[in-house]
């Protein structure tokens, strides 16, 4: 589904990310965990084509429209209603306005936003805006979704609800996900695989873990799975070393 090979990204000076390789196979939920400044976001931007890498390759084998991306700060168009924001992606991909708006309304309803189609983003709460952004991406029926800490700005309870809905959708629709985050707990509770990225500049992928928690998953309950705590401890130790090599594993 997604293969990143030997990717190096630089914004002119020293590379932020160096020689990163990873794979997201069909239907897998993969997280890339690393400290701030490790080049996580840069990697996603390179995958979606917003950032030209210095070297390396990105292969998705998918048309652009089937790769969705969710950013930390949703960037809905403030002058379009929730419905028109969701419909925009469909229209840009060739749907006619009427069908697109009907489809958008259906996606809003699926994300608990029935009746909010006429609202402008400025008149929605943070959690609602996040759901609209999610609907916008899901409406395009992506096979792969890239996520850049998309829930960081939400408060804990809203976040738990949005994440739960997202996981259910992703599992049902067999969507592959690449999530970048510095929240190890979230990564563990959601993912099938985790890659660890070391502190930038010259951030590198240092580890690759499998998460043996079965699906379908409840993001909250999966934290109580017997495999969770030991793996958490192991990755945490590796992560601490990735941030500061002088720290010895406990």
């Amino acid at each position: 589904m997604l293969h990143v090979r030997d990717l190096t990204i630089s914004y002119g000076g020293e590379p932020v990310l160096e020689g990163a390789s990873l794979a997201v196979e069909d239907g897998r939920f993969v997280s890339l965990v690393g400290p701030s400044g490790s080049g996580k976001s840069s990697l996603l931007r390179a995958v979606i084509g917003l950032q030209r890498p210095l070297s390396g390759a990105v292969e998705t084998g998918l048309p652009r429209s089937q790769v969705g991306i969710l950013f930390q700060d949703d960037a809905l168009l403030p002058w379009k209603t929730a419905r028109d924001n969701v419909a925009l992606g469909l229209i840009l991909n060739g749907a006619d306005g009427r069908t697109a708006r009907a489809d958008a309304e259906a996606w809003l309803a699926r994300l608990d936003l029935a009746g909010f189609g006429d609202r402008f983003p400025g008149h929605l709460s943070g959690g609602q805006r996040k759901r609209v952004a999610l609907a916008q991406v899901l409406a395009l029926r992506p096979k792969l979704i890239l996520m850049d800490e998309p829930f960081a700005s939400l408060d804990a309870i809203v976040r738990a609800r949005v994440v739960k809905d997202l996981v259910a959708l992703v599992e049902r629709e067999q969507i592959s996900v690449l999530l970048v985050t510095h929240d190890l707990e979230e990564a563990l509770s959601l993912s099938d695989e985790i890659y660890l990225l070391s502190q930038g500049p010259r951030g590198r992928i240092t580890q690759h873990y499998m998460v043996p928690i079965p699906r379908p998953r409840d993001p909250v309950r999966s934290r109580m799975h017997p495999a969770f705590a030991p793996l958490y401890e192991k990755i945490w130790a590796d992560l601490s070393r990735a941030v500061d090599p002088r720290v010895e594993a406990a």
């Binding site: 979606i48 917003l50 652009r64 429209s65 969705g68 991306i69 950013f71 700060d73 960037a75 809905l76 168009l77 403030p78 002058w79 379009k80 209603t81 925009l88 992606g89 840009l92 991909n93 402008f120 983003p121 400025g122 008149h123 916008q136 395009l140």
Partner: protein, 251 residues
Amino acid sequence: MRGAPRYSWARQVAALLVLLALWEAAGRAGMLNPLYLPSPSQIGAALFDLFSDGRIWPHLEATFTAALGGLALGITVGVVLGVTAALVPLIAELLEPVMTLLNAVPRVILAPLFVIWLGIGLASKIALSFILVAVLIFFTVFTGIRQVDRRMVERVITLGGDRWALVRHVYLPSVTAWILSNLKIAVGFAFTGALVGEFVAATHGLGYLLSFAQSTYNAALMFALIFLILVVVLLIFGIAGRLEKYLLRWS
């Protein structure tokens, strides 16, 4: 006026009425020289005269045509130049110094030049009104486009939008929003241009009437005209405000 004490408008109106009554009384008591400061009733009579014989209409029409013509032209040209400059670095390089210069000087100094070039008819007034508005709108659009939220641009690109989609769904609405939030200033500029232009040399218009009142030492007429212009501009401001509120209802 949110948060203002209740009935503050009533007290304001009352204060105004008291002031007008004192003014009127002072005038009737012979304490004011009507050559300099005519009483409210004299101003009212002058105003009534302007409308009763209908001779005000061609002047109102002239001023409105010049102001609205200059406004429309100024917005159009300002947007086109602003967008072009924001997208083509070479154009920005050439235009920016000129615009900065035009922005720095009081542009009404061009009024006599426009009269020489375009005559004392409508064209020179439209030109002055235009140049006042166009420079304002140019900077609004030019700086605005450079400050468009990158995240919105990236969102539209990642949803599959091309350059045209960016223009249509991001840049045009942004530009519209900035123009609308500057619309009142632009309207003020447009009327300033028209009135000053008429003041300098004209055969019609409120500005021409003002200069006529001045040359004939007709203070009552002058006050009547000032009052009329105030009302007209407030009216236009009201319409512009409504339009702004409706079109920017998302904000």
